[in-house]
C-alpha cells in the first residue's frame, strides 16, 4: 500500500528519473559483473601458471634432495627437501625424507622433534615409529627404542606392510643382539622365520641373525631350508657347516663344509675366511677319526679308544708335572685312572663295552679338567675336548 502511495506521489518527471536510475544501476551492476568475470579469468590464469610452477619447483627440489641424501650429503639434502616442502607442504614422504636427512646430518634433536610432530598427526605410522626407534637407538635410549620398534611393528604401513614389518622385526632383532638381549632377539627371529616365505636369501639372513643370537640349532634349521633351493648358495652351505660344527655335529659339518669348499663361489670368499673354513673341515675330519662311533666295527672302535686313552693319560701326566701341589680335581681324576687296568688289550675292550664307555667318559673328563687346570689344549687333546662337549652329537645328522 505504502509503495503504491509512494509511486503515486511521484511526478511524471520523477518517475522518468527513477526509470533512468534503475537502468543506470542495472548497467552499473552488469558492468561490475563483467569486471568480476574478467578479473576472475585473469586471476585464474595467474593462479594456474603459479600452481604449475610450484609443482615443478617441488619436484625439482625433491629430486635434488633425494640425490643428495643418496650421495651421503645430508646437509644439502636438508636444504633441498625443505625447499621442496615449501612448494608441496602436504607431501608426507617428503616430510619423512627431510626428517631422515636431519637424522643423517646428526641433527638428532631436530629430527626427533620433527618425527614427534609427524607422529602426533599419524600416531600409528610404522615408518615414523621406526625412524624414532632408530634415533632413540642412536641416542642410547634403549627403552624408548624398543618401545618405538614395537609400535612400528604394530603400526600401519603403506602397501608392502607385510614385508616392512618383517624388516622392522629383523632390525629389532639386530638391535637386541647388539644389546646382548639374545632371548628377546631369538623370539623376534623365530616369529619372523615362522611368517617368512620360502626364500633362500631371507632364510640365510635370519639364520645368520640366529647364529649371532646364540641359537645355532634354529639357525641350522634355516640354513638347511636354504640349501634345498637350487642353485645352492655358498653362504647357506658355509652357515650350515658353521652351525653344525658349533653344535658338535661333526659328521654333517664335514659334509656341508666339503660341499662349501667345492662350491665355485668359495674362492670368492676372503682368504682368511677360506682358511678358517678349511681348518674347520680339517678339525671335523680329525674328530671323526678320533671318535669311537657306534658305526665302527669292534676292532677299530677299541683301537680308537685305546689311542684316546693314551692321549688323555699323557695330557694328565703332563698337567700333573706342572703342579707342585696337586689340585683335588686332578687328584680325583688321577685316582680314577688308577682304577683302570694299566695294561689294557684291544681284545679286553672288544669284549667289555661297559669298560669302553667308562674309559671314554674318563678321557672326556680328563680333557675338560686339564683344560681348566692347565690351559687350552692343542692337537688331539683339543679335538677330544670338542668331542667331550657333546659326544652323542658327533655323528648326529
Amino acid at each position: 500500500m505504502s509503495v503504491l502511495q509512494l509511486r503515486s506521489a511521484l511526478t511524471p518527471e520523477e518517475r522518468q528519473q527513477k526509470q533512468k536510475l534503475i537502468i543506470r544501476d542495472s548497467l552499473a551492476l552488469l558492468s561490475l559483473f563483467a569486471i568480476v568475470v574478467v578479473l576472475f579469468f585473469i586471476t585464474l590464469f595467474l593462479f594456474h601458471s603459479f600452481s604449475v610452477h610450484r609443482q615443478e619447483l617441488a619436484q625439482r627440489w625433491r629430486t635434488r634432495g633425494e640425490g643428495a641424501l643418496r650421495a651421503g650429503k645430508p646437509m644439502a639434502a636438508i636444504d633441498a627437501l625443505r625447499s621442496a616442502l615449501a612448494y608441496a607442504p602436504d607431501d608426507e614422504n617428503l616430510q619423512i625424507e627431510l626428517a631422515e636427512a636431519l637424522a643423517a646430518a646428526g641433527r638428532t634433536q631436530e629430527a626427533v622433534a620433527y618425527f614427534n610432530t609427524l607422529l602426533d598427526s599419524r600416531p600409528g605410522s610404522g615408518m615414523i615409529n621406526l625412524q624414532l626407534a632408530r634415533l632413540a637407538a642412536k641416542q642410547g635410549e634403549e627403552a624408548a627404542a624398543l618401545e618405538y620398534y614395537e609400535t612400528a611393528l604394530d603400526g600401519t604401513w603403506e602397501g608392502d606392510g607385510y614385508i616392512r614389518r618383517r624388516e622392522v622385526r629383523l632390525e629389532l632383532a639386530q638391535y637386541l643382539i647388539e644389546r646382548k638381549r639374545y632371548d628377546q632377539a631369538r623370539n623376534q627371529l623365530l616369529i619372523a622365520a615362522g611368517n617368512a616365505p620360502d626364500d633362500a636369501g631371507l632364510e640365510i639372513t635370519m639364520a645368520a641373525l640366529l647364529e649371532k643370537a646364540q641359537d645355532p640349532g634354529n639357525a641350522l634349521h634355516l640354513y638347511k631350508k636354504a640349501i634345498q633351493h637350487r642353485p645352492v648358495r655358498i653362504d647357506a652351505l658355509l652357515g650350515a657347516g658353521r652351525t653344525t660344527y658349533a653344535l658338535g655335529r661333526y659328521l654333517p659339518a664335514k659334509d656341508f663344509l666339503e660341499r662349501a669348499l667345492n662350491h665355485p663361489d668359495f674362492e670368492k670368499e676372503p682368504a682368511d675366511l677360506q682358511l678358517q673354513y678349511r681348518d674347520m673341515l680339517s678339525d671335523a675330519d680329525h674328530i671323526l677319526l678320533l671318535y669311537p662311533g657306534p658305526d665302527l666295527n669292534v676292532r677299530d672302535r677299541a683301537e680308537r679308544i685305546l689311542a684316546n686313552r693314551n692321549t688323555a693319560q699323557d695330557r694328565l701326566t703332563s698337567c700333573l708335572s706342572t703342579k707342585t701341589v696337586i689340585p683335588p680335581e686332578l687328584q680325583a681324576l688321577n685316582n680314577q685312572w688308577q682304577q683302570i687296568p694299566a695294561t689294557l688289550r684291544r681284545l679286553q675292550l672288544e669284549q667289555d663295552p661297559e669298560l669302553e664307555q667308562k674309559i671314554m667318559q674318563l678321557v672326556y673328563q680328563t680333557e675338560e679338567v686339564t683344560s681348566q687346570q692347565c690351559g687350552t689344549p692343542t692337537g688331539n687333546d683339543a679335538l677330544l675336548l670338542k668331542i667331550a662337549k657333546a659326544p652323542e652329537a658327533v655323528e648326529q645328522r
Binding site: 536510475l21 543506470r24 552499473a28 595467474l46 627440489w61 625443505r82 631436530e110 622433534a113
Partner: protein
C-alpha cells in the same frame, strides 16, 4: 594521507540527481544495493587478494629464487633495490600506500567519508607485492585489508550511494580483504569490528559478514579450504600443561612489549629525518634485512608462512626458534619503520609461532611428559602475540580456533592470550595502532577505549519519586491542593490507560484559570503522553524529551505501570559531570 576531492570523483548520476531527490524517488535503493554490493565487493576483494598473493610469490621466486638460503648475494641486494624502487613509488606516485593499511582504512572511515582512491589501491597492490616479495619482513594481510576497503570505496562511489552508506563500505571491504588473506572469515569480521569499527553495529554487521564470506569462498576456490598453515594435531593432554601455556602468555606479553617499543622508538625517528632520506630508508632497511638473511637466517625474510608451518611441525630446535623470533622483531621493525608498505599481521604471527614453538620444544625436551605437540604451542603463540601486540583479544582467540579448526585448544588459547593481553596492556597502555596514529598526526578513535567505554544508563541518574502522583480522575482543585501541600514544581498524572503525564505547576495554574475546579484533570490534558523509559536505556536517550517534559518517570520492566524513579534534566547533566 591527503583529503580526497570527493566532489571531483562524483559520477554521472550524481550530477543529475541529488541525494534528496534520490531519497524521494527511490527511498529503499541504498539499502538494497548495500547488500548486493557487499557480495560484489567480497568477490572482487577475494580475486584481488588471490592475485596479490600470487604476485608476491612470483616476485619472490623471480627475485630471491625458489629456495633462498644463507650466503646468496642476491639476498643482500634484492631487498635493497626493491626498497629503493618502492620508496620512490611511494614518494612520487602513491603516498597513501605507505604503512600497513589498517590505520589508513580507519582514517578513510572516520575522516574521509570512506574514500580510498583507485590510485591508492593500485599503489598498495604494487608496492606491497614488490616489498614483501623481495624479502622485506612484512605481511600481505593488512594491505589486503586496505585493498578490500579500497575496492569497496570505488564500487560504492560508482553507484552514488549516500555519504553515510559510503562510509560504511570501507569496513565491509576491509573485512572481505582480510578474510580472503587469512582464509578465516570469522577472524576477519571480528578484527574489523574490534579494530576498525570499534563496536558492534547492526547497520553494517550483515554486510560485513556477507562480503567476508564471499571473499573467502573465492579465496578457497583457488587455495582450497585448508587453512593457511597445515595444522598438526592439537591436544591438551594434561591440565598441568596450562602452566606451560601461561608461561607462553608471559613470554608473548614481553615480546609484544619489546616489539611495540622498538617500533614506537624507530618509526618516528625515521619519519623525522630529512625528506630526501625517505627515498633511501626502505633500501637501507632492505639491505639490513637482507644481511640477516645472508648471514644465516633467510627465514626472517618475507611473510614467513612456510617457516611458521615448519615451526609448527617441529622442524627447528628451540634455540633456533628463539633466535628467529628475535631477528624477526628486528627485521620487521626495520622494514615497517622505514615506511615500506606492508603489514604487521604475518610478522606478528611469525614471532608468536616461533616463541610458541620455542617454549613448546623447550618444555618437550625438559618435561617430555607434561607437554603436548609443538604445533599446539606455535598455534597458541600466534594468538598470544596477536592479543599482546595488535591488542585484539577476541580476534586472537577466534583466529586460533578458526585456523586450527579445533575447539579443544580453547582453554590454552584463552589463558595465554589473556595473560599476554593484560601484561602488554599494563606495560604499554597505548596500543600499537594508536601509537602509529599519533605518530602520523591523526586523531582516530582508540578502539580499545571505545570497547571499554562504560556507557551511562538512566539508572545512573535515577532518583526516587519525590513528586506528587495524581490520578487523572482527580479534579483540578484536588490536584492543586496536593501540589500546594508538597510545594513541588511538577507532578505526575497517572491516567486510566496506564499512560503518564508530567505537569508543571504553571500548567496546572493555567488549567485552573480556564476550567472549573471540579473538572477531572485528564479532561484538561493535551493528547501527548510521557515516553516509556526503562532504567537500562542509555542516559542520553532521555535528553530529547526534556524540552517538552519537566521530568521523566522510569518504569519497571517487570511490573507494568510501576515507577522505579524519575529523572530530570538537572539529574542527567549532573551525572554526566561526575565522569
Amino acid at each position: 594521507m591527503t583529503v580526497p576531492p570527493v566532489q571531483e570523483t562524483e559520477t554521472a548520476p550524481q550530477r543529475i540527481l541529488t541525494q534528496v531527490q534520490l531519497e524521494k524517488i527511490a527511498p529503499t535503493r541504498d539499502e538494497r544495493l548495500f547488500l548486493v554490493l557487499s557480495i560484489f565487493i567480497g568477490v572482487l576483494s577475494g580475486l584481488l587478494v588471490v592475485s596479490f598473493r600470487v604476485a608476491i610469490e612470483w616476485i619472490k621466486i623471480l627475485t630471491l629464487g625458489s629456495a633462498p638460503h644463507a650466503g646468496q648475494f642476491r639476498l643482500l641486494f634484492v631487498p635493497a633495490i626493491a626498497g629503493l624502487i618502492v620508496a620512490a613509488l611511494v614518494q612520487l606516485a602513491f603516498p597513501a600506500a605507505r604503512g600497513s593499511g589498517v590505520n589508513q582504512t580507519k582514517a578513510a572511515l572516520y575522516i574521509y567519508n570512506g574514500f580510498i582512491s583507485f590510485k591508492t589501491v593500485i599503489g598498495k597492490f604494487i608496492t606491497s607485492a614488490l616489498a614483501i616479495g623481495s624479502g622485506h619482513s612484512l605481511g600481505p594481510e593488512d594491505p589486503s585489508l586496505q585493498i578490500g576497503a579500497g575496492v569497496a570505496s570505488i564500487v560504492a562511489r560508482r553507484l552514488n550511494l549516500s555519504r553515510q552508506r559510503l562510509r560504511l563500505f570501507a569496513p565491509i571491504g576491509a573485512a572481505a580483504g582480510l578474510a580472503a588473506a587469512f582464509n578465516a572469515p570469522i577472524s576477519a569480521i571480528l578484527f574489523v569490528i574490534e579494530e576498525v569499527i570499534g563496536r558492534w553495529s547492526a547497520a553494517v554487521l550483515g554486510s560485513v559478514v556477507l562480503s567476508a564470506i564471499s571473499s573467502v569462498v573465492v579465496a578457497r576456490w583457488f587455495w582450497g579450504s585448508e587453512p593457511i598453515f597445515r595444522i598438526p594435531t592439537v591436544t591438551l593432554r594434561d591440565p598441568r600443561e596450562l602452566i606451560a601455556y601461561a608461561v607462553l602468555g608471559i613470554v608473548g606479553g614481553f615480546a609484544a612489549l619489546v616489539f611495540s617499543k622498538a617500533l614506537g622508538y624507530l618509526r618516528p625517528r625515521l619519519r623525522a629525518m630529512p625528506k630526501w632520506t625517505q627515498y633511501c630508508q626502505s633500501g637501507v632497511a632492505g639491505l639490513l634485512v637482507g644481511m640477516i638473511g645472508f648471514f644465516g637466517f633467510p627465514q626472517v625474510m618475507g611473510p614467513g608462512y612456510e617457516v611458521i608451518d615448519q615451526a609448527m611441525h617441529g622442524q627447528f630446535a628451540w634455540k633456533l626458534l628463539l633466535v628467529l623470533a628475535l631477528l624477526k622483531i628486528l627485521a620487521t621493525t626495520l622494514s615497517f619503520s622505514s615506511g615500506t608498505p606492508g603489514g604487521m599481521f604475518a610478522p606478528t604471527l611469525f614471532i608468536g609461532a616461533m616463541l610458541g614453538a620455542s617454549v613448546g620444544s623447550f618444555e618437550k625436551l625438559f618435561f617430555p611428559h607434561l607437554t603436548g605437540t609443538v604445533g599446539s604451542y606455535a598455534l597458541v603463540g600466534m594468538g598470544v602475540l596477536f592479543a599482546g601486540f595488535l591488542r585484539a583479544p577476541l580476534t586472537s582467540v577466534f583466529m586460533v580456533l578458526e585456523v586450527s579448526g579445533n575447539y579443544s585448544i580453547i582453554l590454552p588459547v584463552i589463558l595465554a592470550n589473556m595473560i599476554a593481553y593484560l601484561l602488554s596492556r599494563g606495560l604499554q597502555p597505548v596500543p600499537i595502532f594508536e601509537v602509529f596514529t599519533h605518530q602520523d598526526g591523526l586523531a582516530l578513535p582508540s578502539m580499545e577505549e571505545v570497547r571499554e567505554e562504560s556507557e551511562l544508563h538512566l539508572e545512573d541518574a535515577l532518583i526516587p519519586v519525590q513528586v506528587p502522583i495524581v490520578k487523572g480522575s482527580q479534579s483540578i482543585a484536588n490536584a492543586g491542593e496536593i501540589v500546594a501541600a508538597t510545594q513541588a514544581k511538577a507532578f505526575l498524572v497517572s491516567l486510566w490507560d496506564g499512560s503518564w503525564y508530567a505537569m508543571t505547576t504553571g500548567e496546572l495554574m493555567s488549567f485552573s484559570a480556564t476550567l472549573t475546579p471540579e473538572t477531572p484533570i485528564e479532561q484538561a490534558l493535551p493528547p501527548e503522553r510521557l515516553p516509556i523509559l526503562f532504567p537500562d536505556l542509555p542516559l542520553d536517550s532521555a535528553l530529547p524529551y526534556f524540552p517538552r517534559w519537566p521530568l521523566l518517570p522510569i518504569m519497571n520492566r517487570a511490573t507494568k505501570g510501576t515507577i522505579e524513579g524519575i529523572v530530570t534534566l538537572e539529574d542527567v547533566l549532573q551525572r554526566y559531570h561526575k565522569i
